[in-house]
Symmetry: D2
Subunit: 458 residues, 4 copies
Amino acid sequence: MALWDGRFSTGPHRALTEFTESISFDQRLYKHDIAGSKAHAQMLGASGIIPQADAAKIIAGLDAIERQIDKGDFEFKAELEDIHMHIESALTAQIGEEGARLHTARSRNDQIALDIRLYLRDQIDLIASGLRDFQRALVHQAGLNATHILPGYTHLQRAQPVLFAHHLLAYVEMFDRDLGRLADCRKRLNVMPLGSGAIAGTTLPIDRALTAKLLDFPEITRNSMDAVADRDFACELLAALALFGTHVSRLSEDIVLWCSAEFAYVELADEFCTGSSLMPQKKNPDVAELSRGKAARVIGDLMALLTLVKGLPLTYNRDMQEDKEPIFDAVDTVRKILAVYPPMVQTMKARPENMLKAARDPALMATDLAEKLVALGVPFRTAHHRVGALVKWCKQTGKPLNGLTIEEMLSVIPEATPECLDLFSPEKSVTAREIPGATGFNEVRKQLDFWEKTLAAN
Amino acid sequence: MALWDGRFSTGPHRALTEFTESISFDQRLYKHDIAGSKAHAQMLGASGIIPQADAAKIIAGLDAIERQIDKGDFEFKAELEDIHMHIESALTAQIGEEGARLHTARSRNDQIALDIRLYLRDQIDLIASGLRDFQRALVHQAGLNATHILPGYTHLQRAQPVLFAHHLLAYVEMFDRDLGRLADCRKRLNVMPLGSGAIAGTTLPIDRALTAKLLDFPEITRNSMDAVADRDFACELLAALALFGTHVSRLSEDIVLWCSAEFAYVELADEFCTGSSLMPQKKNPDVAELSRGKAARVIGDLMALLTLVKGLPLTYNRDMQEDKEPIFDAVDTVRKILAVYPPMVQTMKARPENMLKAARDPALMATDLAEKLVALGVPFRTAHHRVGALVKWCKQTGKPLNGLTIEEMLSVIPEATPECLDLFSPEKSVTAREIPGATGFNEVRKQLDFWEKTLAAN
Amino acid sequence: MALWDGRFSTGPHRALTEFTESISFDQRLYKHDIAGSKAHAQMLGASGIIPQADAAKIIAGLDAIERQIDKGDFEFKAELEDIHMHIESALTAQIGEEGARLHTARSRNDQIALDIRLYLRDQIDLIASGLRDFQRALVHQAGLNATHILPGYTHLQRAQPVLFAHHLLAYVEMFDRDLGRLADCRKRLNVMPLGSGAIAGTTLPIDRALTAKLLDFPEITRNSMDAVADRDFACELLAALALFGTHVSRLSEDIVLWCSAEFAYVELADEFCTGSSLMPQKKNPDVAELSRGKAARVIGDLMALLTLVKGLPLTYNRDMQEDKEPIFDAVDTVRKILAVYPPMVQTMKARPENMLKAARDPALMATDLAEKLVALGVPFRTAHHRVGALVKWCKQTGKPLNGLTIEEMLSVIPEATPECLDLFSPEKSVTAREIPGATGFNEVRKQLDFWEKTLAAN
Amino acid sequence: MALWDGRFSTGPHRALTEFTESISFDQRLYKHDIAGSKAHAQMLGASGIIPQADAAKIIAGLDAIERQIDKGDFEFKAELEDIHMHIESALTAQIGEEGARLHTARSRNDQIALDIRLYLRDQIDLIASGLRDFQRALVHQAGLNATHILPGYTHLQRAQPVLFAHHLLAYVEMFDRDLGRLADCRKRLNVMPLGSGAIAGTTLPIDRALTAKLLDFPEITRNSMDAVADRDFACELLAALALFGTHVSRLSEDIVLWCSAEFAYVELADEFCTGSSLMPQKKNPDVAELSRGKAARVIGDLMALLTLVKGLPLTYNRDMQEDKEPIFDAVDTVRKILAVYPPMVQTMKARPENMLKAARDPALMATDLAEKLVALGVPFRTAHHRVGALVKWCKQTGKPLNGLTIEEMLSVIPEATPECLDLFSPEKSVTAREIPGATGFNEVRKQLDFWEKTLAAN
């Protein structure tokens, strides 16, 4: 029997019940639903809308139900539709008529708006903490490799020598922006919607500020129609998570490359890899691959949610029940990544000898030569063209860039000096890059110190 | 213990096992995995690659495992990763060393490619059958309302009178194109990939044609690398399902409008609606709303899948394990819609009196007047302009279009004849539209007959 | 001739030039590119990396080029690839060798990162200002209709009476959150990337803080690899714009409904509508429809951008050139909406008589009756059930809810009092809702005052 | 002056005109619009709805306008909204009142439905032809490398030796499925919608079959409401193009990898690469990168289109004008890729010595050893485990897999025979794989022959 069936002549069709139920996925909200209901009951009692004694009985009943669900001792069934109905039903079954007072001055529309906000507020905090762990693992790994040089890539072509630590810290920066977005999103969702009713508020003299205080919200929503129709916070959160997903997918692409036989810059611990059912020699970087794939999933969740909301008239429409599964899926997916990725990064082993060998390619120092010419007074564009011609000359003659005589170099670059012969070392190249943000040994050490301090404080 | 761990020094990290397992969602493939394995074993035996007796024992063992899973009498655990490993393990546990011969000349890469194709081939057939039911319900409803007129809308503005049956049959057309796309997709996925191995085929003399025959595939894949890397069929299917989703979403939008107090063209059976937890008078068209929302979900699934595949190098990458959940979700979502929507349409009640009242708005016949003028020799653009001016004149003078004297009409439309006064009836308007595809009574009757016959034959 | 062709043996294929050029769309960045180059040149001069006199000459040359482009007196051609190359080429052509010094200590990778940030910083300010105008138009319209009542809808079913002003202010709230997201995004993009070079910084002693100061950036990027690889700010901005798009799409859906003959709550000014090429009577709410459609477009842009970035290794990859068109398209689309929607809202005419007529439906006051019973001590769930039964009784007997005798009401609701007969007025219903955020006359007046003050101050 | 303004009191607001115009992007449809109009006029004349002489004059006028637009001698202006209005206006201006007869029995709703179908039918043919060229370039390249071996990859880990030709032919297969999808889509869009009018057909006795015949359509649409509301064909086409995009993106990822210093399997012609503005040594695979990025763009277009259509009520809504830009963008993007990619593939140079060196890694033959053991009677799972243990043993002892004595091998694999020592050659491994679809020399030669013949015939 549904709680709303007063005006109906027939019960719901079996197919309807199965189609419209949400209990199979919204049961995970029970703690937040109960917390919201307890605050609501306390407020109703304090405001004199229901007897104080009834409020107390309701709260005790809700506590009992929470313990029951905690223990797995609670039956969920499709006929009772959703978590709200389950808990209200159980309450009335347990404590009697007082339970029937709980839903006073409240609709499922504002109730679910509250529940999801409470739930997501918690999830954001958990994800933020996981992101900090991820940063810590990267900074730890960067610290272990503070002086190891590898080629930096653009277009997947070797570009210039960089520190492996510098490369890893780039991801620390990305995750920091992710943390910023999560915090901004949390601020916007941390507003209390209860009291908005189905759409228009209520005629009963509720005290919304008290409910907000009890649930630790700094503010209440200002417009009841907006409050029940709004899913901005979920869209914003999923956008932030999708962006985090792209960051992880880029790190994953890097790790997949680094684990290949061709790059061989990194070895993952055996315990973070799997093998092949057919090929006995395989050891695959599955975590990186799956995480890269999971980025697509979170993007899909965001797409579903934006498309869901698009074009809906005010206020609540039942379509909006479909918000929950993409929200839950995105949050779960990100939390799964955060559970496995940091320990994998923490335990991965750099292979600095392979990195350095690749970085010794003298072409990587071509820019250094051009900049040297600039320091000697050659306009940059001329210098660039000269060095380009030298690269071509070397290719054609088969001579290595770092094996030229001064005469050979002068034949292509008339402005060259003997010092120009001496630039083709990745160590020198890195050493020379000490402006803020660059890959110089000291500058990267400074960044490492900054992050170690920042992360220790958080 | 994993089946591939020969070369590994440590077992998998607990977080890895949880992160990489797919058994929680791929267990639904067990029947198709077993069917594939049985055909594979039979082929291995027939080709002399394994002893015939072993093949027979394997097949019997697989049958027993299938019955066990059917009965819910089979334990799934994350450590065994996926459905393939579960079944192979159980087989070896039950029949001994012969079980260890099953995975000969096969990899999980071609095995999963087979399983999903088998699974989706079945799902397509089920969905196609559901689509036929949906068409039947629409045609039934159209038959009940073969002569009822309502306004046709463009821009949600009343445009011209049309038959309600004509409006419903528009959806029958859409679903027919959906059926066409499903059939085309089925044709492209109905190609047998087993024998592609991990990537390169096998050195053992397998008989792929026999496997294909046993599993009712008309063809085998031509390139082993393509076969294990390809997820086209899933992308194509999800695109077809997303398009079906948009069709349902449009029908849903129509139904939501029709159920509103403002339109009131249709009443849904109580058993296909739900009420409100707060407002006692409410009866909501939830099925239509949720289905409209679920269209967004399938679009999200398609987005996830395309983004997943984009940019992956050949051949198999672990990211591709993430294909399954969007595939399953899209298929399940569409099947859920197909379970509930046809009976709802079948039982909905038209309210022809409200439809007709709306269709009597004489402005809906403005085009008929313009076309009448054309028949009288007025160039269409002039006719259109004249009638537009008449509409404006009526608005300004407060006279109804269908209440003018011939003098009044002539004052704005010098070419008007007395017959022009007589066009403002929706019945006449509909009657006059008898070209193929138009909304005339006879033409729509013809279309109904066509569909009744077509659907009876399928 | 390309500026990078030193090492190449052949010039680019014609198809390559056409495929890779970006000048056809990035020319719109010329002002920001020039502003960035001027600051860069000034810094190079101040740091002694190039002669001060050369810096001055470069700056004067750039000013001249800007005026030339302003006047449309500048030739763009695909061979010169992008806006950076065009301007550097023109500069060298005009001022000679000094121009060849401009690109010192800079790469197109950090240059484009700077240009887009400068461009988007401006666009965000323009969009924010447009959003304020949109809020003003809504508040203006709400002020004109501060006491007009219409039905509030859930599930597109009439739910409870609300003020039209309340409904409009819901959108003001949404746009305010949009403004918050834009401000947060602006904060994160307002960081100066120049000096990051191609990937690793530079060996020349540049002064990044000075460049930042000249371009009014409060901070510089901390990691050169992150700085050239990062497109977070664009993804974040497009997510914010997509969310704004969904808001506009919802308002548009409301307006399309309100303009229908069935609702008829609002009339748009003729000058914001178009007609039909066939049907002379039509007047269509095109702006609302197109804006609803344009929301889909911005969502598509966001999806393109996220998918683009997903799975790219560090650092710059040429794929990232494809970021610009979705960014520009999203920004342009939103600005187009903001140019036309506020004046349309400003000039639309409410039809309060139709609104009120719809709101008089006594079923809309069913919740008020239930809450009255609560005030009389009936537990809410019981009250809800009683009122539901009354609704059914009325439906069955054909009596209107607001036309019952007390005896009739008592026969279904034993707890009813004579006051209960008196609740079926939308005015009373609205009056009774005076808690914060609800739709009461005073509360909505308060909200209007709040917004008028807020918007006057911005 | 708009052609529909009879009933309007004021002209359009300037902002409206700019917002609603489509001429800036739909002008590209002029040839198809004119072709449709000519057929329509001919039919109107033949059916006696307009005088034959007028029809002839209209057709001649349309021909003149087409030549004018061809020559760039035609002014487009926002006030005339769209291509239909431009051509009709120009016609009436040129030939007088007869021009005003053209729009008889037609609406822009069915007119645009016709135009896009005609346009896309042509585009599909052009794209299909480009796809054939792409296949030809791949088959040419495969033919040049018919015996070159490289490692096949799964998880970007070296898996087994495969032929480079086999790898390239995998893409030929994918493009063949793309061609199949295009053909199926063409079949479904090749249905003539004209005569559907705005929504309900027409009262005039038009001959739709004649129009269809004149425009080379095998069928006419069966339901006028569906015909003007339907954008299935565009969604289906964009889904097919998005899938093609993912194929190109995968090939691009392969090519980017192959061009890296680490893989070095392929060298692109200089004329298909660009360099760096900063780093003189760079040569980047831009076409591959940009194409990979453009896949994201087409996915975004598809998402925009599906989201656009989702939830629209029947029939035409102005939102649908927003279909054109994503359609055009997707088609243009794919055609751009098809213009540059085939010649790049045609001219790329394989570096077989690097491929072979990588393929000599003996671990790639581990599966061959396991299958050899199977041939010796060892159950596969046991064989797999034995070989895995051998791999581990080699890793621990530092001995190469292909440098073991028979005693050493027997110590880990008791079933080994001397032949087992002899398997570690990529040539032998490839030679042994001759089942259909596998990578054996003969089998791949057979596939090459098949494709050469197929492509010669198309």
